[in-house]
């Protein structure tokens, strides 16, 4: 009788061990599968873009402006410069305001009604469709000025960057341990100084990631530019004039009935993605040395 019980306990133990092994393998496989699914779209898009667009890339693409319909060749030099211009304006507006707002939410306004209102507004702003952002910039800048401009496009993109940067900055600052703040205050460092030199510095890798995410997101936006930057088939570096942008150019070319323009649109898409990857890598590289060394 006793022996029988012992055997059944043994059996159950073996059964459970096998079951545990199975569950472990299943969970690991699911995780690996999910990871592959995350990477797959990006890799697929990238490969497809290279297949479709790489053969249209040549020196002319980077040095010439679009040619009239019917003429072969031409490039997107003006759109590349235009996109860079728009993104610089957007970053100059979005990064300081976003980081400043995040610092306020996490460090100075914590728990106040005003801060809760700002946080709520930022979250709503994050969900506003990008075309509506374009309309806002249209009403604020284009209508009073009576003309489309690079400035209006940059502002539209900049406003779109603010909520993402603001909220990630707040989250990252809140992750800095309380002990680190206390250490600074305990040394007789004024609060504002402690926030800027200790807390923000400690959180800077995360804050930079937030800025990069916002940047990469607006870099590919088309809708907010349609009635702000408008697009331009000619050279323009004036902030007060309509300016070309890669996403806009791709949009127009992809919808056109001309094969030549389709090829340029593919090439433009490839260049846009490569530019975003380059910009993100460059910021990572610069911030991993120099002033912010040690922050990551």
């Amino acid at each position: 009788m006793k022996k029988g019980t012992e055997e059944s306990v043994q059996e159950e133990f073996q059964l459970r061990t096998r079951l545990r092994w199975l569950v472990d393998k299943a969970a690991t496989s699911l995780a690996v599968l999910s990871t592959l699914l995350v990477i797959l779209p990006l890799v697929a898009i990238f490969i497809y873009l290279i297949i479709q667009g790489a053969h249209s890339l040549n020196l002319a693409f980077f040095t010439q402006i679009p040619k009239p319909v019917g003429e072969v060749g031409g490039g997107m030099a003006n759109a590349i410069v235009g996109s860079v211009t728009l993104l610089v304006i957007a970053s100059l507006l979005g990064v300081p305001i976003g980081i400043g707002g995040g610092i306020y939410l996490a460090e100075f306004g914590r728990g106040t009604k005003f801060a809760n209102g700002v946080r709520f507004t930022a979250d709503v702003l994050n969900g506003v469709p990008s075309i509506v952002m374009g309309l806002a910039a249209y009403a604020l800048i284009v209508v009073p000025q009576h003309h489309f401009s690079a400035l209006a496009g940059g502002v539209a993109l900049g406003i779109m960057m603010i909520p993402t940067i603001c909220r990630t900055t707040e989250e990252m600052l809140l992750m800095v341990p309380h002990a680190v703040r206390e250490a600074a205050l305990g040394l007789g460092v004024p609060n504002w100084r402690s926030v800027l030199s200790i807390t923000v510095k400690t959180a800077s890798p995360g804050i930079i990631t937030g800025c990069m995410l916002a940047f990469a997101r607006v870099a590919g936006e088309t809708a907010p530019l349609i009635f702000t930057a408008l697009g331009n088939d000619y050279w323009s570096t004036s902030l007060n004039q309509p300016i070309a942008a890669l996403p806009l150019q791709i949009y127009v070319y992809a919808l056109s009935p001309y094969d030549d323009w389709h090829r340029l649109a593919w090439a433009g898409s490839l260049v846009l993605i490569v530019l975003i990857v380059l910009a993100v890598s460059l910021v990572r590289f610069v911030t991993s040395r120099g002033v912010l060394k040690g922050a990551s």
């Binding site: 250490a183 205050l185 305990g186 040394l187 800077s204 040690g294």
Partner: protein, 252 residues
């Protein structure tokens, strides 16, 4: 040189919780004073009132007077001024994670706008020597991050950081409770050396530690100070029954 601290009718609250009730005592200059008592008795709150860290919590409140030499720290000074004269070492080592060893020690001066490189070098060296860490780190001052040191080294780094701003008082809130016995004895040796130059207040759960390092000991219970006397008297012949019960391990 250290200064004495006179505390009179000190009360402190967290929200509606009256955590310190009518504390009155005189902490002597250039000696080590230990505060003992069970968890939650208010001893940490008490030292945090001495450098006005208590009020950094938005729901906290303090009444009463604390005099440090000629200075009334709640009437005659801002929190920032007080904290420059009163250094603090926390329970868990908390070096600035993004800074090198050198920058950690120099942080207090640098963040207050002090930038003379040569004298910063001198202060850093002196502070690290005073905290008995110099020999272990002198070759990697600017290369190694403060967070890469061992727990005991980190705590001595935090002591050096506190000493670098040249305070008159050093508050230590259970400075050795997260450390192994070897590191603990190093910290205790340090307290022994430092008390000739600074007034030291140390909160501890370890009664042997209090007996080893402090001339004076205060026993806290439920937000009140039960007894304050020479360490020898507290541990051999306490006047209050509750002190005796705590010391002999009957509760707490």
């Amino acid at each position: 040189m250290g200064v004495g601290i006179e505390v009179a009718n000190l009360n402190a609250w967290y929200g509606t919780n009256h955590t310190l009730q009518d504390i009155t005592l005189n902490i002597p200059a250039n000696h080590a004073t230990a505060l003992i008592g069970p968890s939650g008795c208010g001893k940490s709150t008490f030292v945090r009132c001495l450098n006005r860290m208590h009020e950094t919590n938005p729901i906290a409140r303090v009444t009463g007077t604390v005099r440090m030499g000629d200075l009334d720290i709640y009437q005659g000074a801002t929190p920032v001024e007080v904290r420059r004269r009163v250094g603090m070492v926390f329970q868990r080592p908390n070096p600035f994670p993004t800074m090198s060893i050198y920058d950690n020690v120099a942080a207090g001066l640098k963040l207050n706008g002090y930038s003379n490189r040569k004298s910063l070098d001198e202060v850093v060296e002196k502070s690290l020597k005073n905290s008995a860490l110099w020999d272990e780190v002198k070759d990697e001052l600017k290369k190694k991050s403060g967070a890469s040191l061992s727990g005991g080294q980190q705590q001595r780094l935090c002591i050096a950081r506190a000493l670098a701003v040249d305070p008159e008082v050093l508050l230590m809130d259970e400075p050795a409770s997260a450390l192994d016995p070897v590191s603990t004895s190093k910290i205790e040796d340090l307290i022994f050396q430092l008390k000739s130059q600074y007034t030291i207040v140390i909160v501890t759960h370890n009664m042997q530690q209090a007996a080893r390092v402090a001339e004076k000991t205060g026993f806290f219970l439920n937000g009140r100070m039960v007894e304050f006397d020479s360490t020898h008297k507290i541990f051999t012949n306490p006047s209050d029954k509750r002190t005796e019960d705590y010391i002999t391990g009957r509760f707490g």
